[in-house]
Symmetry: C2
Subunit: 201 residues, 2 copies
């Protein structure tokens, strides 16, 4: 089931989703009970189904809501004409590194947190994650093509190179959680800089 929430989530639904996000980012999807979310959101127990059809539909809405904010921020950065395309890309990945290494960050990656757990459990959540990650890759790919022109780099198919970089960063973020150490994202940053030919030879 794909969520119909994205475009017409009510203020109350958005409030619940905003409050739920850090809880889910900490504990995952299955381990969090609806009562914990409702209690934190100050919504009366038993009223969950007034706002969401099911926990799965809530999960789909959560992913959609996450990407709505994520893509708004990404679009703002990528349309900043004061920066070169190279600087926009580097800023994006610098922010990625900073937010994912900081234990107190409220901006941890929901894709890294949930994808392993929920893609086998919910086709709707899988599709919401697919739509969101595809939208991120599409935007980054356009920016990388521009950065390649700026730096006169022949990267080949920039869509494929963007996918490779995105998967690397997703994997490095997952390993940063496992190792509780930022070194994995430094490896990913080094690989990005190499692709953009920013290292001195």
């Amino acid at each position: 089931m794909n969520s119909p929430i994205q475009s017409k989530a009510t203020d109350k639904q958005r409030q619940i989703l905003t409050i739920a996000q850090p809880i889910i980012l900490g504990k995952g999807f299955s381990a969090v009970g609806l009562n914990e979310i409702l209690k934190t959101a100050g919504v009366p127990k038993g009223s969950f189904y007034h706002y969401f059809e099911s926990k799965e539909q809530f999960g789909c809405a959560l992913v959609d809501h996450y990407f709505e904010q994520y893509l708004t921020n990404l679009d703002r950065l990528l349309s900043d004409t004061k920066l070169t395309a190279t600087a926009r890309l580097l800023t994006y990945f610098e922010q990625w590194k900073t937010t994912q290494c900081d234990d107190t960050s409220q901006d941890k990656c929901l894709v890294v947190k949930l994808s392993g757990e929920v893609t086998d459990l919910s086709e709707g959540m899988r599709l919401a994650l697919k739509k969101g990650t595809q939208a991120v890759i599409d935007r980054l790919s356009l920016c990388l093509a521009e950065a390649a022109k700026e730096n006169k780099l022949n990267l080949g198919n920039t869509k494929t190179v963007t996918e490779e970089l995105y998967y690397l960063w997703i994997g490095a973020t997952l390993m940063t959680k496992v190792h509780n150490h930022p070194q994995m994202l430094e490896v990913a940053m080094h690989a990005l800089e190499s692709k953009l030919n920013l290292h001195q030879h």
Copy 2:
């Protein structure tokens, strides 16, 4: 808590862990009840704590047991002197691609499945995942150094290159789950072949 199970798991513990693995690979850690595992293993309800101290310790033992088998298979492949180091590396990643793309595979990656979910929930499981992934990277790194020599490639620090490849493959595997499509692992394979300079220019 780090698991003491690895070296002295009893036959019964191993039997339970072997039966539990595909269940956890499908549903994740939190969503699976102990009763489901015990029922499938034919172990009397209520006897779980005879075999494991807690669900967390069971989780640590599950990860250790997974890596015990994984590293045995990896060592067998990497010590196959009939193959060049390059062929050994390619065989490893070909097997990775095949097993992770096949929906019916019993050999899905437990690191990709569990890391996002459990690293925030259990320090013991996080440490077991850290120890296991580090052991995989160490082995692959030695093989990559040998492959670089064979192909007269100057890869720089082969440990860092191995880490980059491993994170890329972990991320591509996670995205293969999200997109339910093997294309992500084809991107990862192409990147590996490029590193090894196997593409014609």
